[in-house]
């Protein structure tokens, strides 16, 4: 004898499939239109597929935060100016992103400047 639960599943599936087959032409046409609207999304210029850039953006963000953490808090006593909003704007400009790779170099420059100012003062 068949398991009653299994029987319910099979009969439900059969009825459901029958109702799918019976969908009328007007409904099918509207589904077709909806599908084409969805496919147009793929062709729309300016649609940025974030999924493609998400890993690169993630790595960049982590590197940026790590660089700031490694650099530590600004040493105001040594005469180095704290990082200002303008510095961040410069760093975040699209064509200045390569600066992120040279943060260590710029930190060194800051340190050298501070040392020079200290010597002069």
């Amino acid at each position: 004898m068949k398991d009653p639960g299994k029987q319910i599943e099979e009969q439900a599936k059969e009825l459901f499939d029958g109702s799918v087959e019976k969908l009328d032409a007007a409904t099918l046409s509207r589904l077709n239109q909806g599908r084409h609207r969805a496919l147009e999304e793929l062709r729309r210029p300016g649609v940025v597929h974030l999924g493609r850039f998400a890993p690169a953006a993630g790595v960049l963000a982590v590197a940026f935060v790590a660089a700031i953490v490694m650099r530590g808090p600004p040493n105001i006593d040594a005469g180095v100016n704290p990082v200002t909003a303008t510095d961040f704007e410069m760093l975040l400009e699209a064509d200045s992103l390569e600066m992120l790779e040279d943060l260590e170099f710029y930190s060194l420059l800051d340190a050298v400047d501070a040392e020079a100012n200290g010597n002069v003062g």
């Binding site: 459901f16 799918v20 019976k22 909806g34």
Partner: protein, 202 residues
Amino acid sequence: MSACAGVFVVSCTREQSTGAMALQREQQLNRFLTEVERRALRIAEISVRDRDEALDLVQEAMIKLARNYAERPEGEWTPLFYRILQNGIRDWHRRQKVRNRVMVWFGRGTSTEDDYDPAANAPDPAGRSPEAQLQSSEAMQRLEVSVHALPNRQREAFMLRTFEGLDVAGTAVAMGCSEGSVKTHYSRAVHTLRDKLGDHWQ
């Protein structure tokens, strides 16, 4: 000069290759949506009991899939699509609750439950007699009412497993819960339906 020409050729080849890949992806997505759209519509329709609303929900899910997940591997599309659709259905139910509360406040009820007629008057593609069609459509109507009456999560689990044929893992992704929860919801749904429909279907 020849270096410039070389760069131009490489650039053109790369563009052609990207265009071909985009076209291929579009064809894959078209095939996928064509395959899934009718079942998705009926699943949405059983959930919200309104064909127009169900059509809107399915279209919205198709657009969101194309916009956000077209780049994902094809094998992931089915659970992702149903996850979007189920979220849409849940939002729809929330909006309906709010709307009904407002309508009750202003003294107007909704009559969608009474007006709904799930049996379409289309000719039977299987060529069954009117009596057989009537029996089948009555059985489907009973099934729809019973599935609709299930608690939301049980209804989702039952429809995704039985109607769409997703496995437990795929259903868990579509429902945004653990596989254990899917098994529990599904088992409870089958028991409830067996109790409700058993007498008619034995």
